[in-house]
């Protein structure tokens, strides 16, 4: 029997506003407990919510970015439940009428093992605005739980997909794509450690070929892609084994334990709350006009999909390169700056995603903090293409640039890396090499191709690596023919 896993995601993205969604309190992360808890955050008697327009702009941006229907009229609703970190006893969210309706995100699922990489469209069901809760703090006060309401009222956009994903790899590819997108359009800082981007994953399994969805379990609050992959894989195995052993799956909310790599049930459906949703009478329906949308659209950057297509057309990049370079605006911007400074586009792409990415990863810094700027990299690549230095020498220059040892031409000069391109001088070297290695010449003439490479190597060595390898090849071929 062949099983199929069905996955849908609900992602809470914390919006990059200055203040809370329904009050003027700051949402800066890491402040002393309750120093960012105003009257509204504490839910004092008599306070009222006032919608932060900046949060609405973020929602519109997202809707435009995924080509979604943006509701001309959406409604804030109260989700009622008691919890100490929920000061009002209800969360203001959107229920029946969300601000963003159906849309879609195209994802690149990377190659795994024998399976080639492929593209897939994940459908978005809806995205709605809501407020975050505060935090319970355990252990700070003896024998008591503390409540920190700094986070209470932080604006969130909850993005819900259709159950469109069929593997952990697809789910992770979607989550990564969404993570890139919300940062690209500037609505979320993407900081997963600080909880700015949190994923709940709904997982169910069914027999391949059947239509009906299996009973799902929801894995809550995954805050890294690695954990998401592990959690889905474990959960999928667990559900299949349970069913194969004759058991049934109960709808439940589960937590992933990174230490054991297992998921564990937190509460079953029976224990679930009846949230008693109803329209919040303190807030008017949210009305978004065509003009509002146009105004927000005018502030938006070129979207990654459009930029990818442009890179393919304008810079003649492969789809793979174009896609990789458009994972963040900073990266794409760096590429454009490099190519537009006169460097070869393909070379730029290779160096940025190769040597530079490796260095940045090792140093655990982003491209905006790169010690080598786009102009420097472009200068370096130009020195390769105008034959001033060899590829090998270029690697040394790159290292020196990284260590801030000077500019490209200065480093080439001080390190003596300029390559020899004077054909007379190269000819003289080749003549010496041929004279010194008659055996190799014989071997070549006897048909051994390898001997040719050995002779090239000798010539390069004799030039202390400075001879232009292409010229060496060319002249050597001429001499031996």
């Amino acid at each position: 029997m062949e099983w199929e896993v069905v996955i849908g995601l609900e992602t809470h993205t914390q919006l990059k506003t200055n203040t809370k969604i329904f009050s003027g309190a700051s949402i800066k992360y890491g402040a002393e407990p309750n120093t960012q808890a105003c009257e509204v955050s504490i839910a004092l008697p008599g306070v009222l919510p006032v919608l932060n327009k900046e949060a609405v702009h973020c929602a519109i941006k997202f809707g435009l970015a995924i080509n979604a229907h943006i509701a001309p009229r959406s409604v804030f609703a109260r989700k009622n439940y008691f919890y100490p970190d929920l000061p009002k006893g209800y969360q203001i969210s959107q229920f029946e009428l969300p601000v963003v309706g159906k849309g879609a995100v195209t994802i690149q699922v990377p190659a795994v093992g024998k399976n080639a990489a492929y593209e897939k469209v994940v459908n978005i069901t809806r995205a709605h605005l809501e407020e975050d809760a505060g935090k319970s703090v355990h252990g700070a006060v003896d024998d008591m739980s503390g409540i920190d309401l700094n986070r209470a009222g932080t604006p969130l956009l909850e993005i819900v997909t259709e159950p469109d994903m069929r593997s952990a790899a697809e789910a992770v590819a979607y989550a990564k794509k969404l993570h890139e997108l919300v940062q690209w359009i500037g609505i979320c800082d993407g900081n997963m450690q600080e909880g700015s981007f949190r994923c709940d994953v709904n997982v169910s399994v069914r027999q391949k070929g059947t239509e009906k969805l299996g009973t799902r379990r929801e894995i809550k609050n995954l805050n890294s892609f690695k954990f998401m992959q592990q959690a889905i894989e474990y959960e999928t195995r667990w559900q299949i084994e349970t069913l194969e052993d004759g058991g049934t799956i109960q709808q439940a909310t589960v937590l992933f334990n990174p230490d054991t790599g297992e998921t564990r049930s937190m509460r079953s459906k029976e224990e679930a709350n009846d949230y008693r949703y109803f329209p919040d009478p303190d807030l008017l329906p949210l009305v978004i006009s065509e003009a509002d949308k146009a105004a927000v659209k005018a502030t938006m950057p070129e979207l990654p999909e459009a930029m990818k297509a442009r890179f393919e057309a304008h810079y003649a990049l492969s789809a793979y390169d174009a896609s990789a370079l458009t994972t963040s605006r900073e990266l794409a911007g760096y590429f454009v700056a490099t190519a537009d400074a006169g460097a070869d586009a393909k070379q730029s792409a290779n160096w940025i995603m190769g040597a530079l990415a490796a260095k940045l990863n090792a140093a655990d810094i982003g491209i905006s903090e790169s010690p080598i700027n786009a102009q420097q990299l472009a200068q370096l690549l130009k020195r390769i293409s105008d034959n001033t230095i060899s590829n090998n020498a270029a690697k040394q220059v790159f290292e020196a640039l990284w260590n801030a040892e000077g500019d490209v031409d200065g480093i080439i000069a001080t390190k003596g890396l300029k390559q020899e391109s004077d054909s007379g001088a190269i000819e003289a070297i080749i003549d010496e090499v041929l004279a010194a290695n008659p055996a190799m010449v014989e071997e070549f003439k006897a048909g051994k191709e390898k001997a040719f490479n050995a002779l090239v190597g000798q010539a390069m060595k004799a030039s202390k690596g400075k001879a232009n390898p292409a010229q060496v090849n060319e002249l050597l071929k001429k001499k031996l023919s």
Partner: protein, 494 residues
């Protein structure tokens, strides 16, 4: 002095014939004398009050006075006032000192008014007799064994007994107008959204509206000039141009079309009350009004609809009182759930609990459509009744309450009888319309006591100035609004 209008008091203060401190002290003395028996005030803070009066006197001296600068008002204890105990009539908030000012309080402060204290009220404004207050019932100054009405019972008694120059109230289903009727003074519930709800402790957010409770329509108009206006802190506050509510007070009523809804004069209305209302209508005819018979066919549905919607909103609004951050917390508990249960069981009274239960029920999965949604649909029909009615008339008149003040304890065990007190007022809250109660005379109770009766005037949206004009012209030719209860007459007047 205690019978003077706000305009007269303002003039006396600005011409320095009296000081705000003197005037304030006069009311404080009366409060000291009568409050122990009437129980109109929950919180008094003489030092704070006198300090405000002194500041008002300085302001008057510096020539920066506004019309109500130095006039002492009573504030319903539903408004958060910085530094004041703010209880909303509940044990739940008995220990709560508000750290911020409600918009209404800020408006009075800005006007230079003096705050005499916080007035008693039904717990979380849920009640029509002030008997649900954790701080005890309030006596009707016209007859101490009777209730003042509710929920703004403390403000009502304070105005009627001249324990303040005027007071604020809030009206969710009749809480300004019914007590105004039962205590014989003028009260106005404005159009929903005219007065900001910021800092006003929520009962049912889509119905709550603050308004003036005063001796006359002119007083109400002057208070509206202070209270009304856009406030960006309340999303339901209406962004309209500031208006002068006194502007039309003296307009003649010739040709005024007064609609009388037949549903307001049918079964359930006390015969003696009905006679007083008829006499008032006759007076309006003399003033040039034309009478039009109209119908508000869905009036009978207003109470059931209200008792679905208001509790639904209340059940959610009152969830914040959980003992976690402020307010009452049980002394002992075993875990979180136990703390919630005990704190709320101890902190809320029976009527509040009843409404939380009803509200929770009607919002529950499986019942929402049948109750909450259905009630919202009928609410629109009720509003539509008024749209049709106002095609035929300028204002609607009828009784504000079905009876005169009833005896304390008479209805406490019969919630439905109590809820029927608001039969004539609730529809306007559901429709968001303005309504007022104007003293129209006295009716004999069964035991032979003469008690005040209020005429209700309902206007179209934003027609407050017109309604105040309609009331004022009537008050020019009658003196019901100037009558003062014998029980609290100053000694020299007796």
């Amino acid at each position: 002095m205690i019978n003077s209008s706000l305009k007269q008091l303002g003039d006396l203060l600005q011409t320095k014939k009296i000081s705000s401190v003197e005037l304030t002290q006069t009311f404080l003395n009366r409060i000291q004398q009568y409050n122990p028996s009437i129980n109109a005030y929950i919180a008094l803070d003489e030092a704070r009050t006198i300090a405000q009066a002194k500041a008002a006197d300085e302001r008057i001296a510096s020539g920066n006075a506004m019309p109500l600068t130095g006039v002492p008002f009573a504030q319903k204890d539903i408004f958060c006032a910085k530094g004041w105990q703010t209880t909303c009539g509940s044990k739940m908030l008995a220990n709560f000192i508000a750290p911020y000012d409600a918009h209404v309080i800020t408006q009075f402060d800005t006007a230079g008014a003096v705050n005499l204290g916080k007035t008693n009220m039904d717990e979380f404004a849920m009640g029509s007799s002030n008997e649900t207050s954790y701080f005890g019932g309030v006596k009707n100054p016209w007859s101490f064994d009777r209730v003042p009405g509710g929920s703004s019972g403390g403000s009502a008694a304070a105005v009627a007994a001249r324990l303040c120059a005027a007071a604020t109230g809030t009206d969710t289903g009749g809480s300004i107008r019914q007590p105004a009727s039962l205590c014989g003074f003028t009260g106005l519930k404005p159009t929903y959204g005219v007065v900001s709800r910021f800092g006003m402790i929520a009962f049912a957010s889509s119905l709550d509206q603050a308004g003036p409770m005063a001796k006359s329509a002119e007083d109400c108009a002057l208070m509206m000039n202070v209270m009304a206006g856009f406030d960006e802190r309340d999303s339901t506050s209406l962004n309209r141009e500031k208006e002068d509510y006194t502007r039309d007070l003296n307009k003649p009523l010739q040709g005024l079309k007064v609609g009388l809804p037949k549903e307001y004069f049918s079964e359930g209305l006390d015969t003696n009350v009905g006679k007083v209302i008829e006499a008032a209508i006759a007076e309006y005819k003399k003033l040039g009004a034309e009478i039009v018979d109209i119908s508000l066919p869905n009036t009978g549905l207003s109470i059931p609809v209200y008792y679905v919607l208001a509790p639904a909103e209340a059940s959610s609004n009152l969830s914040r009182y959980d003992g976690v951050r402020y307010g009452h917390r049980a002394a002992e508990y075993t875990d979180l759930m136990d703390m919630y249960n005990k704190s709320r069981a101890e902190g809320f009274g029976a009527e509040v609990k009843r409404r939380i239960l009803i509200g929770t029920y009607v919002l529950s999965a499986g019942y929402y459509d049948a109750y909450y949604l259905k009630a919202q649909q009928i609410r629109r029909l009720i509003a539509q009744d008024f749209v049709e009615a106002f095609k035929q008339c300028d204002v609607i008149m009828g009784p504000a309450a079905p009876s005169t003040a009833f005896k304390a304890g008479e209805k406490v065990d019969d919630p439905v009888a109590m809820y029927l007190q608001d039969i004539y007022t609730i529809s306007t809250n559901l429709a968001g319309l303005p309504g007022m109660s104007v003293p129209a005379g006295f009716a004999q109770s069964d035991d032979g006591v003469s008690l005040p009766v209020g005429l209700q005037i309902i206007g179209n949206y934003f027609d407050e100035a017109r309604m105040l004009n309609v009331a004022h012209k009537y008050q020019q030719v009658t003196d019901w609004h100037e009558r003062m209860p014998e029980l609290v007459l100053p000694k020299e007047a007796k």
